[in-house]
Symmetry: C2
Subunit: 332 residues, 2 copies
């Protein structure tokens, strides 16, 4: 049986859910992959815990101050890094430092936060290629919704002509509330903030940046594009009025915040903004915090996927899907 | 560069589309896989053509009588068999003989027709395991709609709790016509037969057997079940009246012929029959000849996929997706 030592950097809701799910699946890893998968280190921004023999669930509620940072993770002896920290696409940090160190050292890496992938995706890909490390990122593209999976696996061989995605839960929740209940943007936002579905500063979601990040990751890592934020036209939902939504409704259309990629002679044009869909379109019926993607290819026509897993468990499961692909490859 | 010799047994619409798409992608195979993929033989039930140096598109309209059958394909020197013949789940033939010969000899095999997989799936899996051949069947499960792909790749690690699928284009077209235009079953069927979307003897579709075949393949090859047709409860749409559809419509429900698998303590219960969905459910909006699947798992919640590729191209593309997975594995 081969031992895999796993570290998780970033220990908020998603990091904790990933740790819990990983520990609960250890028997599966043993049976299916003949793998002893040990969680050897976890850390948040200021505290952490490490044990080369493997941490148990009950230890994870008592992290020790000061055990954090790149050196702490590197010293844990981990073979595989799961990066689940906060996401800042303008700096790439704090994830970028962890990812650079792990990939440079040839460690397989599972990325959940988008910041570093958007900020320095090309560099990270090159580090991985140079060292032979695997760089996986299912959880970063749109949580449990299959996106890059579809392009790379299910539609393999086809040319992607166009992609449209409802990729951000907060804006979909807000537009859905505005459409189905006739309330305005501010009222919907307050409600979402009170329910914990929108941040105190919601602009990363409402102005379209989160969608743009996911779109850029999908384009660069799934379609071999090389886009930066400057290549994207990004519009949000903050200026959509109740009256505008009502007018669309009266015409039988539902507004969605959509990220789209259009293949123009082999290069992808990327855009984030409102699109409206007739009621019979599957996109019109993407409710609440669900997500969806529509991929149009030359030979398979339109393929739509809709995901509605509960967070943070669904994102944790996406990251651990990556882990199984790593175990498959490394165990072969 | 490695040479792969490919034979296609079964040369109706899907077989021909597969041959055409394969030939058009030869440059891709060279570039992406360093593979020289040659079509070395094709045959229908009574005629065929073979050339160890590779057939070209223009030769495929002049097949020679008498060049057909298992011995003909075996003598072509093919490394990979694509089986695209007519589907008969009661006998498994004519595909079964081709598949047994290829898998016994260790040849990688891509199956498009369902008959042999339903009739002798277990035996074929065992032949493949014994010889080390790959047995791929994306095109048999539901054409371009990703089904087994989702379970095996995108949802990897999760426990499947339930699957529902709209897997048969003909019945979906008929129910859609009955629902949206208020016509009866007989009128919808005549129309579909005139348009070429339903067979002269439509019972394989309308009585639910085609859906049952796909469901059984999905259960046995995607979920490790070991079901036979006797384990399935199969009901069709032939007795659904216009009045019944109208009553559903007045209540806001849309009827669909659905194959479902339910995980009961680790074993799957399988059933084909009518289910009704409210208008806001994505399944209510699966139009015409589109297909859809909804997979519920423990950690990722509901994942829905909808496919609307044009036939026979979409099925050909599904089979050639399998080919790329074979090229990836064999080229490694």
């Amino acid at each position: 049986m081969k031992t895999y030592k796993i570290a998780i950097a970033g220990f908020g809701g998603v990091g904790r859910a990933t740790a819990g799910l990983l520990l609960s699946r250890r028997e599966r890893y043993r049976q299916v992959y003949d793998a002893d998968a040990r969680l050897v280190a976890v850390c948040g921004s200021r505290s952490g815990l490490a044990d080369a023999n493997g941490l148990e669930e009950e230890q994870l509620s008592n992290l020790e101050d000061g055990l954090s940072g790149v050196a702490f993770i590197e010293e844990s002896g981990a073979d595989i890094l799961i990066e689940a920290g906060p996401s800042n696409f303008r700096s790439g940090e704090p994830g970028l430092a962890y990812l650079r160190a792990a990939l440079s050292a040839g460690r397989d890496t599972i990325v959940i936060s988008k910041g570093a992938l958007v900020h320095s995706g090309r560099q990270l890909r090159e580090l991985a290629r140079a060292s032979g490390a695997m760089l996986k990122l299912s959880g970063a593209a749109a949580a449990a919704l299959p996106t890059i999976d579809l392009v790379e696996h299910s539609l393999k061989g086809c040319e992607v002509l166009k992609i449209e995605g409802i990729l951000n839960a907060t804006t979909n929740y807000l537009l859905d509330a505005m459409t189905t209940r006739g309330i305005g943007f501010e009222a919907a936002l307050r409600e979402a903030q009170e329910g914990g579905f929108a941040e105190a500063d919601p602009r990363n979601d409402t102005e379209g940046w989160d969608t743009a990040c996911k779109l850029l990751i999908l384009a660069n890592f799934g379609l071999g594009a090389n886009l930066t934020m400057d290549d994207l036209i990004v519009e949000g939902i903050q200026s959509i009025t109740r009256e505008r939504v009502e007018a669309w409704r009266n015409e039988g259309f539902v507004p969605k915040l959509v990220g789209s990629l259009t293949n123009v002679n082999g290069a992808f044009r990327a855009q984030v903004g409102i699109k409206t869909y007739p009621l019979a379109d599957p996109f019109a019926n993407i409710r609440g915090k669900d997500k969806a993607i529509r991929i149009t290819t030359d030979a398979m026509g339109e393929t739509i996927a809709i995901g509605s897993g509960k967070e943070p468990l669904a994102t944790a499961a996406a990251a651990l899907k990556d882990l199984e692909h790593i175990l498959t490859k490394r165990g072969a």
